[in-house]
């Protein structure tokens, strides 16, 4: 088993040994299920005849699933920091980091392992959320392409949240502080899009481009852009490299 997988397995096990992960999974399902999926379904049923008469291109997938994923992408901004907060801050607080640092594994393997575990959790979360729109198959025809693109978008977004969360978690030995800090950074990144709306010019363009949710938005609508995929890749890789550097600095400064 590769070093990163050993770390990932342990991280995954620790994650599900605490009630936090289970509660968050349940909470996300409940909130999205009741407040978005079911209400949106009601609205669709009311408007169905209208849509048919207008010969609208809006199907059930676009009408029900897209708002659901949109809401999920915001909700996960709170959930992922709570999951990632213990990754490194918890090790520092519990004085278990020396075990990893004195073992024959590289710093990047430690970070990759921690990130893989978070990625796995994000995948589980996205799969559970996707079960709701998939269940519409029982009653009508869904657009599988749109659904797949939206799930991918949600997964990439939560992976980016996890990368930020992992880095912030390496900055402190207080998990709660790490969660608050990650949420702050993610919220700022999401706000960039709105903040820059008011202005014009190159600064505003750059700010808009940096906004995480802007790149997710196209995917959520079912538009798969290679630029967006590259953006996510670079975003995640950047924060993982920051984390490795930070752990190296911890080793130097104690």
């Amino acid at each position: 088993m590769s070093a990163a997988l050993i770390i990932a397995r342990q991280e995954w096990r620790s994650l599900f040994a605490s009630p936090l992960a289970w509660s968050l999974l349940a909470l996300v399902q409940f909130v999205l299920g009741v407040f978005f999926f079911l209400t949106q379904l009601d609205v669709f049923l009311e408007k169905q005849s209208e849509l048919v008469s207008m010969n609208s291109s809006f199907g059930i997938t676009a009408f029900v699933a897209s708002p659901l994923y949109e809401a999920a992408s915001v909700l996960l901004m709170v959930v992922m920091p709570l999951i990632s907060m213990r990754s490194i801050a918890g090790e520092r607080r519990g004085a278990t980091l020396p075990l990893l640092l004195s073992s024959p594994i590289s710093m990047s393997a430690i970070v990759a392992g921690k990130f893989l575990a978070l990625l796995g959790f994000a995948a589980l979360l996205c799969a559970l959320i996707s079960l709701m729109p998939i269940s519409l198959v029982l009653a009508g025809t869904v657009d599988p392409g749109l659904l797949a693109a939206a799930s991918l978008s949600l997964w990439l977004l939560s992976a980016s949240y996890a990368a930020v969360g992992l880095y912030i978690s390496s900055l402190t030995s207080q998990p709660v502080l790490a969660a608050a800090g990650s949420f702050g950074v993610l919220a700022t990144l999401a706000m960039l899009r709105h903040a820059s709306n008011s202005g014009t010019g190159p600064v505003s363009d750059v700010l808009t481009y940096l906004s995480l949710n802007l790149h997710g938005a196209a995917l959520l609508r079912g538009v798969v852009n290679s630029t967006d995929l590259v953006y996510f890749g670079l975003f995640i890789a950047g924060f993982l490299i920051f984390t490795v550097r930070r752990l190296d600095a911890l080793r130097t400064h104690g």
Binding site: A3, I6, A17, G94, T96, L99, T252, H253, G254
Partner: protein
């Protein structure tokens, strides 16, 4: 046994902010060494051990373990060592068995041998009865033993134990001594402790650190080795407070270490228990003074005296 050193420490420096924790440390560890690390609080023991374990990067200097440099080939070097930090690195949500399996995997033991390695470590540290219990629920002594088990589960060539006996009861301490002696047969062990009796019972080599530099690196002096001990320290109790200046000049071979109220400590050179001419002369001189000698006796053993002479005692001596 070969003559190739197992670990080599060259000119090690480490600074935390304005505090120079370790300055210019040089030593080698040979296979079969059971090396006792002694020093006052803040002497740099824990820092040095963390650097040896690869947990802390030195500011300057190099460490190599089994021929691999800890900086340029960290993975190969760390594969040869087991480390118990000051606080055992335990995950409270895991049970002893799962935790040791995780440690075995981390240390890259081949999958087929993991079960055997974990069972052996459990047996050596007497953990059989608590295998299924959560680490978070264990008592301090058991947590310490699990910490030792994780350091030896992969049979490393160099075992670094930072205060291994803290929290152990006397029976467990004796068991640990036996374990360390067994380990020292074909591996090397470094241990730090505040318990001097511990060092005398287990170690065959002694390093004394003071303010980040090495004060002594020698084969361990036996309890009767007075040359290495450099005399013996006596504790004197008087009825009335003595005059330190007069006390210091009573005998050229009796050095005053400190005076605190009615008590004084003095080091007598060339002391032989039972027949000490220095002691006899000193006693004679003391009766002429009006302080009223109430009590006199040797303070601690040879190792304690040696330790006092090289470290904390020296501070007190220069202060008085």
């Amino acid at each position: 046994m070969n003559d190739q050193p197992l670990a080599r420490v060259d000119n090690l420096y480490k600074q935390f902010g304005t505090l120079q924790a370790v300055r210019g440390l040089d030593f080698q560890i040979m296979p079969g060494d059971v090396l006792g690390f002694l020093g006052c609080n803040g002497a740099g023991k824990t820092t040095t051990m963390a650097m040896l374990a690869g947990v802390l990067a030195p500011d300057q200097g190099a460490i190599s373990i089994a021929g691999h440099d800890l900086l340029t080939a960290p993975v190969q070097a760390r594969a040869q060592l087991g480390y118990l930090p000051e606080i055992p690195p335990l995950y409270p949500e895991l049970c002893v068995h799962d935790y040791l399996h995780f440690c075995a995997r981390l240390r890259r033991i081949p999958r087929a041998q993991i079960a055997r390695a974990v069972a052996a470590a459990c047996e050596r540290c007497d953990l059989g009865a608590v295998g299924a219990r959560l680490l978070g629920n264990l008592s301090k002594g058991y947590r310490q033993r699990v910490g030792i088990a994780q350091a030896i589960v992969h049979n490393p060539q160099l075992v670094i134990l930072d205060e291994p006996t803290s929290g152990l009861d006397p029976a467990q301490t004796v068991a640990l001594r036996d374990l360390i002696t067994t380990l020292g047969k074909d591996q090397a062990v470094i241990l730090s402790t505040h318990n001097l009796a511990e060092v005398q019972a287990t170690c065959n080599r002694l390093l004394i650190l003071h303010q980040g530099s090495l004060r002594l690196d020698s084969a361990l002096p036996g309890p009767g080795n007075k040359a290495a001990a450099g005399g013996r320290i006596y504790r004197l109790v008087f009825i009335r407070p003595p005059d330190p200046q007069i006390l210091a000049q009573l005998d050229p071979r009796a050095t005053l270490i400190e005076v605190q109220g009615n008590e004084a400590s003095m080091r007598l050179a060339d002391d032989t228990p039972g027949a000490s001419p220095v002691l006899e002369r000193l006693l004679g001189a003391l009766t002429e003074q009006a302080w009223g000698l109430a009590e006199i006796g040797p303070r601690g053993n040879a190792l304690e005296n040696l330790f006092m002479r090289l470290t904390c005692g020296q501070e007190q001596e220069s202060a008085s």
